[in-house]
């Protein structure tokens, strides 16, 4: 290699992060700063000191995120653009319908209604009302899951690109849905307005988009789209629940906040928690992928035994849960139900292992990489989950008469925390790698899921907002 002074010079130049920022980076920062200040200008009369702090903190975090992870700038721009269109169009549209004698809730649902031909507006109906946006998000995530698997199975590069684009779009639409929903809550009635992270329906959307975002980050970082299918499975599961919740329980209707939730803490506690949940879920899905690849490569009896035990456990839980769910359920019916659950898992497990063999080892991601991403994701989740739990304690100290009441939700947060603390100790201190940690991550998801929704369904306590 020839040596020139110029090259030497470059290599020895101190790389300054700030100096390396492009004009686009600065324009982006200016844009975010302007948005933050403008928001403050518009709404400062509604905010207390903490909320002002959160607003500027958010602005600053967005700038840092955009600089550090460049693709997120486009995402932010798209979210801002679409949300602003919605906000801009909403006010006059709702006013016009109110003049016709409609109430605010009716006006909002009429605007996005598929059946109300007279009052609905094209944009709201199909794109930017919160329900439309969330439907887009749901559809795109589910489709992206299939396309990612198609890409994995056939190594079709184009399909991979399509899947990535779909996931980005889905994530954008999810965020837009939440932003618009935030606005809608204020349009319904000013005293009902609140950030849409207050109930199970809203946090499921949050879960989907946060998991999607973390996935997109790792996809780009590791330059592989092979992990997409498995990660998006958990998002699709969340979307499935969301759709069920929407259509069978009408959960998408915006409800006012109970007094305990009326606090600035909600704006930071809940999102921090869901970075944790999302990262843990992603790690678990990669753990599952890891185990399938390993099983396809070298069938292993102990893996099979553990899998059967887990399936048995899940079946037992469905068996027991059915008694709570239906008053008319019988032992026989529930048994059949549990057996069906087992059968689904057996068929899926068997099928996936066969599929992995067909795809071939060379086309599957390297186990080392999966192990690495799994570890990073858990480390990310653990940090944010710790913050979220402490923030929750600080909130409880203001709302419930004590920072720690051993309420079921608090206890399960502690259990989740202990679980991942143990996981990280095993990996970092004991140097454990691979299969056992993959299993542990999968079991960790079961524990996390219980802490996330199981507590609300099966146990009573102070966190009763998330009830089904």
């Amino acid at each position: 290699m020839s040596v020139t002074n110029e090259v030497m010079h470059d290599d020895l130049k101190r790389e300054s992060f700030i100096k390396n920022l492009s004009i686009v980076d600065w324009a982006f920062a200016a844009f975010v700063a302007y948005g933050t200040v403008y928001t403050y200008h518009l709404y400062s009369y509604l905010m207390d000191g903490y909320e002002v702090g959160i607003l500027f903190g958010t602005g600053l975090s967005l700038i840092v995120l955009g600089w550090w992870w460049k693709p997120s700038r486009m995402l932010m721009a798209a979210i801002a653009f679409l949300s602003l269109i919605a906000v801009y169009l909403y006010e006059p549209a709702v006013m016009a319908l109110k003049e016709k004698g409609m109430s605010a809730p009716d006006a909002i649902s009429a605007l996005s209604s598929l059946s109300d031909k007279e009052n609905s507006k094209f944009l709201f109906k199909y794109f930017i009302s919160s329900t439309s946006a969330i439907m887009w998000m749901s559809a795109l995530y589910i489709m992206a899951t299939f396309v990612y698997f198609y890409h994995l199975a056939l190594q079709n590069v184009y399909a991979g690109k399509v899947a990535t684009a779909m996931t980005w779009t889905a994530t954008t639409m999810g965020f837009v849905g939440l932003m618009v929903r935030w606005r809608e809550s204020y349009l319904l009635s000013p005293d009902m307005g609140h950030i849409p992270v207050s109930n199970l329906y809203e946090v499921f959307i949050l879960f989907a988009i946060v998991t999607g975002l973390i996935y997109l980050f790792y996809e780009r970082k590791y330059k592989t789209k092979t992990m997409g299918g498995f990660v998006l499975l958990v998002i699709s599961a969340a979307v499935g629940f969301l759709l069920w919740y929407h259509f069978s329980k009408g959960a998408h209707e915006i409800a006012p906040l109970v007094p305990a939730l009326q606090s600035y803490w909600m704006k930071i506690h809940v999102p921090a928690n869901f970075i944790g949940y999302g990262a843990f879920a992603l790690a678990a899905m990669l753990g599952m992928f890891f185990l399938f690849i390993e099983q396809a490569r070298t069938p292993n009896i102990s893996n099979q035994v553990i899998a059967q035990l887990l399936i048995f456990m899940i079946a037992m839980l469905t068996f027991l849960a059915q008694f709570g769910a239906d008053s008319f359920s019988t032992v026989g019916l529930n048994f059949a139900y549990a057996l069906a659950v087992c059968a689904v898992f057996w068929v899926l497990g068997f099928g996936i292992v066969r599929a992995m063999r067909l795809i071939g080892d060379s086309n599957l991601p390297k186990l080392d990489m999966l192990d690495d991403v799994m570890h990073k994701s858990i480390a990310l989740g653990f940090g944010f989950f710790t913050i979220a739990t402490v923030l929750g304690a600080a909130w409880a100290a203001e709302a419930w008469g004590g920072y720690w009441s051993w309420d079921p939700k608090e206890v399960w947060a502690l259990i989740v925390w202990l679980n991942y603390a143990a996981w990280l100790h095993m990996r970092l201190m004991k140097g454990l790698r691979g299969t056992p940690l993959a299993w542990w991550a999968v079991v960790g998801l079961l524990i996390t899921t219980f802490a996330f929704i199981g507590v609300n369904i099966f146990l009573s306590g102070l966190h009763a907002y998330g009830e089904l």
């Binding site: 030497m8 020895l12 790389e15 009326q262 570890h375 402490v390 709302a399 051993w406």
Partner: protein, 675 residues
């Protein structure tokens, strides 16, 4: 910890008993085991509902298991001594870990390993060796520059046979280890400071005992009272009615309670609650006056949910709200006994009143009062309303001498159902059952008067007989041999009316079914009876209307017609109502009470401090990677200057390898090394 770093030193500590104990306490296996045990114990505490009344547990588990669980302290796991022991174990284990590792960590933060042997550096995975072109001094300068450009802190040491340039970055990672683990000692310390251990100690030493029987605080014995400074920490609850004052709070301990006195008094000046359209509370807040005689301080402050009051280390929270003894004016309408007059009663919520009734002495216990009852409107509400307010209601129990009680929920104003106004009164015999409702139709003036009057007249047998005779006479005016039937018909009428008054239409049906005749005849009989009874009741109803001043020449209105049938349906089921009166809420003065939670938790800041340490520690530990680079320049046997380059990272080996490769390439370019 040091998985991919060169070995620092071989441990040559002699194995002593002390180190065996330390090894055990500081071992990862113990830590993980404690994690798992704490997790499982905590999980049990969420599945088994904590601190419920013991009677509930006995019903649920039976006396044997109840005793067993009680011995294990499973009803209050988080205050159990064995749980504290677990926490203590975790703290000890963590402390030992820090004790053993912290010195090494601190050393690793400072130590650049400038004395590393050439051989050991060459043994590091990925170490590279080049022949060095050009002079050594400028090479050292360039290497130092390259390291520092990459963010490494650099040190140089000239040995006799070699020069070592050592770089290190991300060394705060090691501090993260220490901070994170110290945080996990401080956090449980906060928990222990705020635990109920001091209560347990006072009980154990016999100085205090919980009170399980007293209903009023003033009756509680001295052993159950706590002065302001007796306890280090506590959490209690108290409910104050508007205008009242308190200087204590109640601590629930297992199945009893203790009174905790405060060094100041709290007065509730005003309580306000706002509602959403759905009737759900939107906000509730209390105007409190704190009166502190010790410090000669008095001030007023409003508290709300999420906005507590902090004073002298005490925190006063808005926890709940309820009825603070609303004053109710009741009208007691007796059933069955037409001679009895309406009784007007003044009472308060949580008050009692003994009433003389047709069933002897019954105690009326007022349980609760609700000013509003908002429920979702039925789909397709004509006014497009989403919610309907049914107005005020009150809950009371009627207890007989044997102690049996029925619970009632009576609404003050009539509610509209199928276009007709009715007063509803819910009744249940068991608090876990749903209410069954008695529907009293409202009259033209929206009162219960006509219904009560009608009921009274049906039970006024003298007057009913007179009406029966009159009705029968006019009905049989032209019938042949009327005098022969008349007496019988009147007798049948009165007999049926008696049966109806006693048990409704069901009683008459039972009477018919008892007769030994064919089914066809039974049907005929039922039809005839119905006609006869209806004639009488209609006549009585008309009489009631006449008393009200309704013109009986005109045909009665649809509403009046509907009232008649509604009233009959209700009267027919009246015997199931269980209580011989209807308690009507005539007027009320709403008095609210505010539920306060009062806590003194001095461990809070300790907890926050520990949490902050943990968070900083976790972020340093997990997101920073301590990385080292070494460049060694030496001369080989032939006197040729050589360069050895190696590096190691404490975490994320894959990332470090990539970074290391980049540095190698840069080094090659900068120094013009041959590959």
């Amino acid at each position: 910890m040091t998985e991919s770093e060169p070995a620092v030193q071989a441990s040559s500590i002699p194995i002593s008993r002390r180190s065996v104990v330390l090894d055990f306490l500081g071992s990862m296996n113990l830590a993980i085991t404690i994690f798992v045990i704490i997790a499982i114990a905590s999980a049990i505490g969420t599945v088994l509902k904590q601190n419920e009344p013991y009677t509930d547990y006995i019903i649920k588990f039976g006396p044997f298991w109840h005793e067993f669980f009680l011995t294990l302290n499973l009803y209050d796991i988080y205050s159990a001594s064995w749980f504290a022991v677990l926490l203590a174990f975790l703290m000890t284990s963590t402390s030992v870990c820090i004790y053993r590792n912290a010195p090494r960590m601190l050393q690793e933060m400072r130590n650049f390993r400038l004395n590393s042997k050439l051989k050991s550096i060459k043994l590091i995975e990925g170490a590279r060796t080049w022949r060095l072109n050009g002079d050594e001094e400028s090479a050292i300068k360039n290497i130092t520059l390259l390291f520092s450009v990459q963010g490494y802190k650099t040190k140089i040491k000239h040995h006799d046979d070699r020069v070592i340039v050592a770089g290190m970055r991300g060394r705060w990672n090691r501090l993260g280890y220490i901070l994170g683990h110290m945080g996990m000692i401080v956090v449980p310390l906060g928990f222990i400071m705020d635990s109920t251990m001091d209560i347990a100690f006072l009980e154990w030493s016999g100085k205090r005992s919980i009170d399980k029987t007293s209903i009023y605080v003033k009756d509680m014995p001295k052993e159950s009272q706590l002065q302001p400074d007796t306890l280090f920490s506590f959490r209690g609850n108290i409910s104050i009615s508007e205008g009242q004052k308190t200087n204590f709070t109640l601590l629930r301990v297992r199945d009893g309670s203790l009174v905790q006195y405060l060094p100041f008094a709290i007065e509730l000046k005003d309580f306000r609650v706002e509602h959403y359209d759905s009737g759900a509370p939107k906000s509730f807040e209390s105007d409190l006056i704190i009166i502190d005689k010790d410090k000669d301080v008095q001030f007023e402050q409003t508290i709300a949910v999420n906005k507590p009051l902090y004073y002298r280390g005490y925190t006063i929270y808005q926890a709940s709200f309820g009825d603070g003894g609303s004053k109710l004016k009741l009208k007691i309408w007796p059933f069955y006994d037409y001679k009895k007059r309406v009784l007007e009663v003044d009472t308060v919520v949580r008050g009692e009143r003994v009433l003389d009734t047709a069933q002897g002495q019954l105690t009326l216990e007022i349980i609760d009062f609700k000013k509003y009852n908002v429920r979702p409107a039925q789909v397709g509400d004509p006014k497009g309303k989403k919610f309907v307010n049914d107005g005020s209601s009150f809950v009371f129990k009627v207890r007989d001498k044997s102690g049996q009680a029925r619970e009632y929920n009576n609404y003050m104003s009539p509610v509209i159902q199928d276009g007709r106004y009715i007063f509803i009164s819910g009744m249940r015999t068991n608090p876990s059952d749903a209410y069954r409702y008695l529907h009293i139709p409202a009259d033209d003036n929206f009162t219960v008067n006509r219904f009560m009057n009608f009921h009274a007249q049906l039970n006024n047998s003298e007057r009913a007989q007179a009406i029966a005779i009159k009705t029968v006479s006019s009905a049989l005016e032209n019938a042949p041999g009327k005098d022969k039937y008349k007496g019988d018909v009147v007798k049948t009428m009165m007999d049926l009316l008696d049966r109806f008054n006693f048990g409704g239409f069901d009683a008459i049906k039972r009477h018919i079914n008892k007769a030994e005749i064919s089914n066809e005849e039974k049907n005929k009989m039922a039809e005839a009876y119905q006609k006869v009874l209806n004639t009488l009741m209609q006549a009585i109803y008309m009489d009631v209307l006449r008393q009200e001043g309704v013109d009986d020449k005109k045909p009665i209105s649809d509403a009046q017609q509907a009232f008649y049938f509604d009233a009959l349906a209700t009267l027919s089921g009246l015997h199931l109502y269980g209580t011989p009166f209807y308690a009507q809420l005539a007027d009320f003065t709403h008095v609210e009470s505010s539920g306060l939670s009062i806590a003194r938790l001095p461990g809070k800041n300790v907890f926050y401090f520990g949490s902050l340490m943990t968070i900083i520690g976790i972020f340093l530990l997990l997101y920073l990677n301590q990385q080292r680079l070494w460049a060694v320049i030496y001369k080989d046997e032939s006197g040729q200057p050589m360069l050895v380059f190696a590096g190691s990272g404490s975490r994320n080996t894959a990332d470090f390898k990539r970074h290391y490769q980049q540095v190698v390439e840069k080094l090659e370019r900068v120094l013009g090394l041959n590959k």
